[in-house]
Subunit: 309 residues, 2 copies
């Protein structure tokens, strides 16, 4: 691989043209981040036709067409990514880089290390952008603009060595692959940040998967008396918005990050128990302290977030 | 009281000129829903000055000035409303109508029945509109437009009779007072719905207070590792938005609706436990069923909501 880190990819394949895959295609075309983009459906899928009509891809192809591609993006639910990895093996050209958009990373990165042939490179990606809508019709070329993409690779995993993300733990080719994938997402308007796969999974358990579980449980609780919903306003709409997301995709995400999410749910249950006790016993100082502490944590986070690049 | 149900009020007093009180003033002035509006601060308060500068009230007054008013609106936190009720007694003119904007209703309506003199009328209101911002600077004249105002009165409570909201359980004067308060909120652009105070409190426990407790607990859980917050996106922002609300006001609300909220928190904890078990045991059908059931409940609610007047 002689390409420099910032050189755009020539031919990109997007496998899975749903909301994310089609949005990637639209963003690539709008920002001229690659010369050619092909779209590949999973067996039985037809969303590439919509992606083609929307101008997100140049043509529809079958899996063997990845043999001409420099970058292959797996844009399917997590467990389909895991199932796809071995199927890529016979078709990848030397030097090809494979990435994905899965919301959990440890299982994917570990599997990819073993599934892909020598001389090809896997760099895990998690573009932190989405919508509760799904499918290529909901795709937008600006879905990724100004959002963060977490980059997870694991170069030393094959050797069983404790992994690290420092440049000197990679071969030069592996490091170049990481940099090219970072440049690719940056060319779609994203910020990138490298993080170890297991830490990534703990982070997203706290800030993405737990909110999904909470929104789901909250919606089920609030809807237990349907009459009560006439009194519902923006508070319930906002707190449960993500519970309107695709159940199939979220089943995948939650099942591939089980232990970290279970820990987070236990923590949430404890905070709820503390609040309930304060409310039941009329412990005003304890209740106020909890509400203030949550408000402060949120205010500080948002202030920090505005300042970050 | 000879005024017809739809006749606008002549002189209105707003006690407490924070976000809600000042927004009421702005809406009254914009829609000419009363002839005069006076603003009254709680002891030590100064927000009427801002309300005056913003044109939300005609003048600043002290509590005795309510003796010239037809409608007195208590726009303070719930426990201040409870404390204010006896203080109104010496100043109310015959036929005066008192309402409030408190987020819990059973304690307020019960207290008002006993606190106010004969020949005056209390009609509880809960305009379902707000913001996580507070104070008169955040007030908006359109805060109430198209939102729902729940109306809670309890005419038979004094007699210890099971209460009802049918017209024939009210005296003619009491019923006229309910209708005038309804017309008032309608003149600010709101829809109104009558509901018994205890049922109101159970409804809002489910759709407003529980989301607040959940958002608070969720923010505390997600922020337990501050590093994780770099990976946070709109999901966490939306699910925790209401946890940015005023801690003092929410302490009040939660403490005046304790039993109903504690029940709701228990229900939420059970749903979380079910989700956690499904995730831990890898029970895919159970997990998918829960996610689908929450999504369906939310989709149906929102579809219904769009159709309602």
């Amino acid at each position: 691989m002689n390409a420099s880190a910032s050189q755009p990819f020539d031919a990109v394949a997007i496998i899975g043209c749903g909301l994310i895959g089609t949005s990637i295609g639209l963003a690539i075309r709008e920002r001229r981040a690659a010369v050619t983009v092909i779209g590949i459906d999973l067996p039985g899928g037809t969303s590439t036709q919509t992606a083609l009509q929307r101008g997100a891809i140049d043509r529809v192809a079958t899996l063997d067409a990845i043999s001409s591609c420099d970058l292959i993006i797996l844009a399917t639910p997590v467990r389909q990514i895991l199932a796809l990895l071995p199927a890529l093996r016979p078709h990848l050209k030397p030097g090809a880089i494979v990435t994905d958009v899965g919301s959990t990373k440890e299982q994917i990165v570990k599997s990819a290390i073993y599934a892909l042939p020598a001389g090809t490179y896997f760099v895990g990606s998690h573009p932190m952008a989405g919508s509760e809508k799904r499918g290529p019709d909901a795709a937008r070329s600006d879905l990724f603009a100004n959002a963060l993409c977490l980059i997870c690779s694991q170069p030393d995993y094959k050797q069983g060595v404790a992994y690290s993300l420092a440049a000197d733990t990679y071969t030069a080719h592996e490091y170049a692959a990481v940099q090219r994938v970072e440049s690719f997402w940056q060319s779609l308007g994203m910020r990138t940040l490298r993080v170890l796969p297991d830490l990534h999974d703990r982070w997203v358990a706290a800030v993405s998967h737990l909110p999904h579980a909470a929104a789901t449980a909250l919606m089920l609780s609030a809807a237990s008396d349907p009459h009560a919903l006439v009194a519902a306003a923006n508070g319930l709409i906002d707190t449960t918005r993500i519970a309107g997301g695709d159940a199939e995709m979220w089943t995948d995400i939650l099942l591939t990050n089980g232990p970290a999410i279970a820990d987070q749910i236990s923590q949430l249950q404890k905070h709820l128990e503390t609040l309930k006790t304060a409310i039941e016993t009329g412990d005003e100082p304890a209740l106020r302290a909890h509400l203030e502490s949550a408000k402060r944590a949120r205010d500080q986070w948002l202030a920090q977030r505005t300042k970050s690049p």
